[in-house]
Symmetry: none
Subunit: 206 residues, 4 copies
């Protein structure tokens, strides 16, 4: 019994993982709209029914892909909270984020596609909460800390918000470049980005 159950469970998990991986690749290659169940099934070498069997609906498949990246991201990001100064912390934040993007480049790109295209019946974006500032909060906290520990030049709260947005969009750009341009050197990009935002936040030398 238990063997059977865990056997099923294993197969189940393996199949789900395989389907999700294939879906991610299909989205990267074809975009969200053309990554149909049929395409995914063909690429996975299984019948369409398998997809529906493991994921009651296409929406749920997409949601799981987003969810899984968030889980990966959460554990990856938990490493960051260990630097001694805000300046080091910002550098670490940029580095870690770009490492994560590199480590999961297709998954990240696929989730970006999903987030930008997944809508409900009335056309509203499911994953887009315009008032949601939570993505920027960690950066803003670093910038705030830098005011206290003297790492950074004076930065007003309104400036901190825009700076956070700029940092985040520069990081997200790396994902797009990575999938679109095989020559893109993300390590170099990371180094330059760190320098750039050190210059942007740094105290002018006296």
């Amino acid at each position: 019994m238990s063997t059977k159950t865990s056997g099923k469970s294993f197969i189940e998990k393996a199949r789900r993982a395989q389907i999700m991986q294939t879906t991610i690749e299909a989205i990267c290659d074809l975009g969200y709209a053309q990554a149909s169940i049929g395409q995914i099934a063909k690429r996975a070498g299984v019948s369409k029914g398998v997809i529906t069997y493991h994921f009651p609906s296409k929406d749920e498949l997409m949601q799981k892909i987003v969810e899984e990246l968030y889980l990966k991201g959460a554990s990856f990001m938990s490493e960051i909270a260990t630097e001694s100064t805000a300046a080091n912390m910002l550098r670490r934040y940029i580095e870690t984020n770009l490492e994560f993007i590199l480590a999961h480049k297709n998954h990240v790109a696929a989730v970006a596609e999903i987030v930008m295209n997944f809508r409900d019946e009335e056309g509203r974006l499911i994953y887009h909460k315009p008032a949601d500032n939570s993505i920027y909060v960690p950066i803003i906290e670093i910038l705030h800390w830098g005011q206290e520990d003297g790492s950074f030049r004076p930065i007003l709260p309104s400036s901190a918000q825009v700076l956070a947005m700029t940092i985040r969009s520069a990081i997200d750009l790396a994902s797009q470049q990575l999938v679109a341009n095989p020559d893109f050197n993300i390590q170099e990009y990371a180094k330059e980005l760190i320098q750039l935002f050190e210059a942007a936040t740094g105290k002018p030398p006296i």
Copy 2:
């Protein structure tokens, strides 16, 4: 004669403009995928045939929307080339771009949707040229000029590339914010962005 011609031309142009405008709004509201000919026709209060009559195919309709924004953009941007220093030039570049985004916020947002989703039969993005650096060239030129006129701190070519990418992505972010968040204050955003990149490019005072 000329009245007839211009009259015909006028109706034709007016309808095309109306359809394009409705399409732009439909894309903003519903996203690229759900902005179907049927939806557009319903919103425009006409039959589906009208759309096909004025735009032989959906692809052509989309292309015209992209094209028109480029034309608008070209004339808008031609104003920029008049500043005395690279530092002023960069400020002007950011300001003008954000003004343009504000002035054509739906059009800009719709084109972003199209560019990210318009693919050929094999799934390749039509408007996405990964090796295309042309969008960054104007900024890189400003940064280069700033080396010559002494406006900016020393910036290596590799750094200039990344800086240009960062500036551009920060500008493009404004468009997303604008459509998603009615409270977004783009003037404030512009001011902050200018300050930020002045700090990032500025010579440290001695």
Copy 3:
């Protein structure tokens, strides 16, 4: 008044003739199904409305094309009834028919297309009367006459019917060959056909 009327009449006739001619060419090039009003209008360099104006419906346009060929055919064929013997008559019949096909090759081919494809709402062929033997009657009469004047070998009525069908289908084949194959030599074909059916009908020499 009368000038005006005859002027209109003339223009009217000219336009109708032009439209019919263009339609005939469109059918030859594209086939019946793809010879749409739009295609015809484009080829004629006029608007679709012109077609509908002169021909209330597409069906009527097609009917007129068929009708006109019948009129042409009737006058062309009236020449035949002048030979002295049935054997000469048969030769004349074949010659004249093939001359007619050559003289109006596109029109004949277009009408063949129409006749084979023009159907009513229930799908019944309009121009196809299965029990209609009238196309074979003239040939049968020649064969019958040949019995009387001793031109031909003895041919039973049932044989005459099949012989007539064979002659007619060989003649009609020429039209298909003519439009499909630019190298087809219809004069040569006529000569051979005449020889062939002389052999088929001829009295064996004693």
Copy 4:
């Protein structure tokens, strides 16, 4: 296992066969143009999707119908090559062809419709190779053989070509008659045709 496989295969094959048969009948009743997927589905008592499921495109469905008739024809025709003289051979050729037409009368008629109407986007007939003489080759060979074995009167090569065309078009006519006219007696027609072409090819008795 094997049951499962052959079972699946069987359903698939049965459905495809059913759809092809229904399509053949629809084409005979309604003609090529009006034999739409919708009509076929309605006649088969299934949804339109079923057709597309088993035949990815309408073109492919049509091609399969043509192909299948060629396969049937190839095996049917292989029987012919067994007569002792060219004269007997010609008789056999006519008989066998007309038997085949009778045995597959709707299929033959449908393929004739398809061949005459199936065009690519530019309007060119797909199945029409004007220079293709291969349909006439078997007959020409028989006629040539008849020169050697003395079965036939002297027939020049150019005459043989036209004779072959005439024989073939007389045979093909039977198919049209058969579907259009329920009273058409093809056995009688065969007998007459054989007599006719014996007269046309026969050596005059001395």
